[in-house]
Symmetry: C2
Subunit: 422 residues, 2 copies
Amino acid sequence: MQTDVERLYDKLKEEKKAFRKLAKRDIAVDMTRGRPSAEQLKIALPMLENAASLNFAAEGGDARNYGDLAGLKSARELFAEIFEVKPEEVIVGDGSSLEMMYFLIDCAMQFGVLGGKPWNSLQSVKFICPAPGYDRHFTICEAFGISMITVPMREDGPDMDLIEQLVSNDASIKGIWCVPKYSNPTGITYSDGTVVRMGSLRPAAKDFRVFWDNSYAVHSLYEDEKLKNIFEVAQKAGNANMVYGFTSTSKITFAGSGVAALAASEANIKDILKKLGVRKINPNKVNQLMHVAFLKDIQNIREIMKQHAAILRPKFELFETKMSAAFDDDERVKWSKPKGGYFISLDVPGIAKRTVALAAEAGVKFTAAGATFPYKMDDRDGNIRIAPSVPTLEEMDYAVDVLISAIKIATLEKDIAAIEQQ
Amino acid sequence: MQTDVERLYDKLKEEKKAFRKLAKRDIAVDMTRGRPSAEQLKIALPMLENAASLNFAAEGGDARNYGDLAGLKSARELFAEIFEVKPEEVIVGDGSSLEMMYFLIDCAMQFGVLGGKPWNSLQSVKFICPAPGYDRHFTICEAFGISMITVPMREDGPDMDLIEQLVSNDASIKGIWCVPKYSNPTGITYSDGTVVRMGSLRPAAKDFRVFWDNSYAVHSLYEDEKLKNIFEVAQKAGNANMVYGFTSTSKITFAGSGVAALAASEANIKDILKKLGVRKINPNKVNQLMHVAFLKDIQNIREIMKQHAAILRPKFELFETKMSAAFDDDERVKWSKPKGGYFISLDVPGIAKRTVALAAEAGVKFTAAGATFPYKMDDRDGNIRIAPSVPTLEEMDYAVDVLISAIKIATLEKDIAAIEQQ
C-alpha cells in the first residue's frame, strides 16, 4: 500500500507533467505592474487630436507661457471635484503623484512641515505602513532612512486600534501611507468607520501627516464604491492640516504622461507652494489644458472610466472564475475580489516565493513576492500581487492556468517537506 | 550766476517734467522675466497639430505607458546632439531644467554625490556664484543653507583666477553655477579659454560639481557663438564626473511645458537614475515624442530658432539704438550687447534701485535691482536685468524711453546729493 508521502509524490509528478505541458505554450505574460493596456491607452487619443485648437488664453494669461505654480485654475477646479475640496486646496502638477509624495517627504526632511523642525534633525522618524501595500511608498521611506512600522490590512482598511495606539504614544511617528480606495494590492476600500478614525487621530507629533494616495479615486469596475471624504472628517476633528491627498490621471489618460494633483488645507498649500517655488516655475500647463478639455468634469470622467472598466472587468472576472473553480475548497489559497483598481491580492502562506518562481519558468511574471511589505519582508511568505491589466484575455487565461498549476506544485512540495521533516 | 547745484536742479526739473509727460501714456510693460512673447509661442503650434498621429510604438514599447525613467531613446539622442555628448550621458525629463538642478542639489544634501558623504552631514557647504547671475540659482542655494561666494563676471566668463584659487583650497566648496552661453543676465558666452580652465579645475572637494546651465544653447540672435564642449575638456583633464549640464526647450517650444534634459558622465547618470527611480516612474514621454517629432534634429532646431531670432532681434536692437543715442558719451551708463539669449545687463552704479523704482512709476517693470546677486546684495547698486522678449516693439519703445529718462533723473539726483553732502 502507498504511504501518504508516496501519494503526494505521485500527485506532484502528475502536476509537474501538466505544468510542463502548459509551459510549452511559452507565452510571455508580464503581470508585474499596474500598467494600462494598449487598448485602454486608445481611449484618451481624442485628447491629442484637439491639442492645437485649445484656447490657451482662456484663463487670462497664456497656458503656453511661464506662471501658475499651482497649476491652471481650470485644472485645480477639476481635481477639486475629484478630491471633494476647494480649488484653493489643490495643486496640480506634472504627471507623477509619486513625485509629489516624494517632494513632501523630502521637504519635511530638509525643511520641516508647516514651521516644524526638519525631520533630518530628529533622532528617529517613523512611518506607519499598512501592509500589504504599495512598494513604491515603502521605497521612499527606505531611501530617507525612515523606519517603517508594519500594520496589518483588514477588509475595511488598516488596523485602526493599533494605529491609534501607535500615533498617540510616539511623537517620532510622522506619517502613514494609505491607498484608501481599491487599495494597492488588496483592492478594498476603507469603510466610513476607518476614514472617520483616520481623520480623527490624535497623533503625538504635530507634524504627523496622513499620506492619502487616492490613485484609484474613479477606477471602479462596477458601481462606484463611495469613499468618505477624509478632508471633511479631519476638518471637523480639528485636524485640518493633517491630511495630504494625492491622485493622478495615469490610469485615466496616459501612464506617467498624465496630470497629478495634491490636496491639502490652505495653510499646507501655502507652505508647499513656497517650497515648490524654489524648485520650478510652473508645471506643464499645456498638458493640463489638454486634460481639462478632454476630461471636462467628474461626470464625464466617470463615463471615460466605464470604458476602462469594460476592458478591465473581464480580466478580473476570468481570474475569479478560474481560481474559484480550482481552489474554492482549499482554505489555504485566498484572494481578494476587488470592485475597482488595478490589483488582486493572492494569499498563499508559505509558498509565495516558490509560486512566483515557478510561474516565471512558464514565462508568467508577477511582482516579486514580498514586494508589498516594508523592507520586502513578508514574514508569512504569503502575498502575491496580481496585476491583470496588461495581458489580453487570452494571455490572462494562460497566466492563470500557470498560476494555478504553480500553486498546486508549491503546495504539494510544501506538504511533502512537512511530512519528511517529521 | 547759477551755481552747479542750481543748474543740476534745473535739469532735474526739466527731466522730471519730460518723465511725467512720458508716463501719461501709462503703458504697462513687464520686463521682469525672460518669457517668450505670444508671437514666439505660435512657432511651436504645429507640434500640437500632429500629436494624435504620432507613432507611440516607434521605440518598441508604448510612449503612452509607464517606463523609460531616463526618457525616450529618441529624446535622449536629440538632446545628446545639443549637449554634444552620447545619448547614454543624457536624462530627459519633464519641462523644468531648474527642477533637475534642484533635484541634484537636494540629492547631494540628503544622500551625497556618487558615494560621497551627504552634504547635510558637513559643517559647511559653499557654492561659487558668478554675479550678476541667474537669481533662481541663488534661491536654491539660499533654501538649502548653502553659502554663496560671489565671483565677478567678465566679458569672457567668470574670474577664473579667483575660482581656481578658491576651489583648490577649500573642500567645502561643492559647486559653481554657470550659464555659459548668452549668459543670464550679461549675455556673454564663455571663451574657449574660460571653458578649458573651468573643465580643468582641481577642486579640493572630490564631489565638486560644475552646474553648467546651458539654457540658451541654441538661442542665437545672429550667427551662432560657438561654446566649447566642456564635457570633452573635463574628460581629457581627468574630470569626467565633474560637470552636470542642463538645458530645456522652454524658449524653443513652450515655457515650462517643454522638455528639459541633463547631461553627465555615465557614472553620474547611473547614480542619478538610482535616486530618480525612488521619486518617479517616468517623465512625460508623450510630450517628449511630440517634441522629437517637431524638433527633429539640431539643424532643424537652428531653423526654428531663426524664427525666434527674427522676433527677438529688433527688440534688442531697439534697446541698443536708443541707449546709444542717449548715453554713448556717458561713462557711467553701460550695457551689454548680447548676440543671443534673453537678457541685456545694464550697469548704472549707485542708482539701480532708484532707476527701477522710477520706471515702475511709469508702468515699466524690471526685475528687482540686486536680484542678479547672491542674497540679492549688489554692493554697487549697479545692475539692472533687462528682459526684452515679452513687450511688443511699440511697448519696448516706450519702456526704453522711460528707462532713459529714469536713469537721467536718478543720475541728477545722485549728483545733487553728492554736492550737497560735501
